[in-house]
Symmetry: C2
Amino acid sequence: MMNWPRLKGMSTAQSLSPSEAPEIPKRGRGRPRKAGDGASRQALIVAAAKHFRRKGFDATTTRDIAQATGMQSGSPFYHFKSKNALLVAIMEEGMRSAQRSQDAVLAALPGDITARDRLAALVLNHLYVLWLPGNDFVPVMHHEWRSVPPAQRKTIQVLKDAYEVPWRDALAQLEDQGLLGTNASLARSMLFGVLHGSMTWFKPKGALRLEQLARECLNALVSEQPRTPGPAGLPPAAFDPETVVREAWRRGGRRNTDTPSPATSPLVLSKQRAA
Amino acid sequence: MMNWPRLKGMSTAQSLSPSEAPEIPKRGRGRPRKAGDGASRQALIVAAAKHFRRKGFDATTTRDIAQATGMQSGSPFYHFKSKNALLVAIMEEGMRSAQRSQDAVLAALPGDITARDRLAALVLNHLYVLWLPGNDFVPVMHHEWRSVPPAQRKTIQVLKDAYEVPWRDALAQLEDQGLLGTNASLARSMLFGVLHGSMTWFKPKGALRLEQLARECLNALVSEQPRTPGPAGLPPAAFDPETVVREAWRRGGRRNTDTPSPATSPLVLSKQRAA
DNA sequence: CCTACCGATCGGTAGG
DNA sequence: CCTACCGATCGGTAGG
């Protein structure tokens, strides 16, 4: 899957993941249809990822996947014991592939590079992981997380944590240099939010390419000059817009259960215009 | 729905949305079970939103929703002509409610407030919209967008565009003041990415409350002092980490279709350790 | 808004 | 990996 190669002859079945071992296809026997090894399994993963990304996990039928792979409706269950196992396999392979490319990029970077440039490389690589054609695995992972059985979430979470280690390092350095508007941990969560959110609104056509998007994301979250440390901390005093919002909600809202609120607040009056 | 009230006696059926008008419940006749008006319809919307958020649109059955509302399995279709119509109603009402609270907040703000503080109020209000209990509508809108029939997307898009107008204004001012690391349009998309992404990772327990999250988001994306306009533009020269990443992918990747790539690149060698 | 129901589909399996 | 199939469920409807 993805754009990242695996070693030749390295059957996917021998990977570290105990969660989804197929029946061991007895390679080398029978008719060597495609390649004899896990090619069909791989084709199922690729087709499933494509469908899951477009229509969602629940809306995709195992028959869709089978048909896209040229199989009969029952055949996917020869390779995967359930539809959910197929989803987990997609996520695991997506993260492994992303990790491979990220490691390769980091290894190719000069040693004396700044933390900002290192983060730039991580960001661009991540955009490639998300956006390059055929790379449906990581997007599916993020969007279909709730369809993963809780028992198997931990395995994927470990892969995600490992992937984020270099991000933590780079952002911690940037925080030390005063180049962030928040702390490293929050900046990392926000940065991934920006990057994953780009899948919703970004269209890589025209002038704005992935490379430029990467630059803009970095510029948006990482300053080039240290920020003034003056009032940068948490203002202990009342934050004006904050109290305004809080008060507005206190006036205008109930906790909301079933019935619409009685509506006697002045807020509503200020809203009558649009009705 | 939400925490924002509607005018008393304003049946939801008379709203601007032509997309989902129920059968006009003949209010005032029959047994006045709850309130006589669209209370059941409203209860369906609330219950559906809760389920859609937790389990997803496809995984939620209309029977789930009926049961949560104390109805029989066929009854939701008296109020909504289809499951999809229920989803659209959730999104429309979610946006209308968000717009109401946002308008109220803006109206309550002093006129001489800075663009930064105005944006702070918008951000905090938006976090309330996303996070306060019972407010499942807008999260559902973002997560289940692809389940909306294309014909009805436009209606909701209009509401979303209106909602974003004050954001555009505030961010345009901030861009003029040199407080953004990117342009106003991209900053807006990124900011919403951060805010919506918070639904994945943020837990409003402990020290980090919504108010502080709002501050941190703002600090992360909006400087307090104008940024140095020096090398802030697009560097026309080769961007080092960028070319490294691009080269790495060129070496390591094919476009990817079905079969795993042959893998003869040096990238793979540098990755053998984890196997 | 309930009763009773239908047609279609879906994940999964037995047995080869 | 195919054939043939099952049990369960699901969105939706007729008729009151």
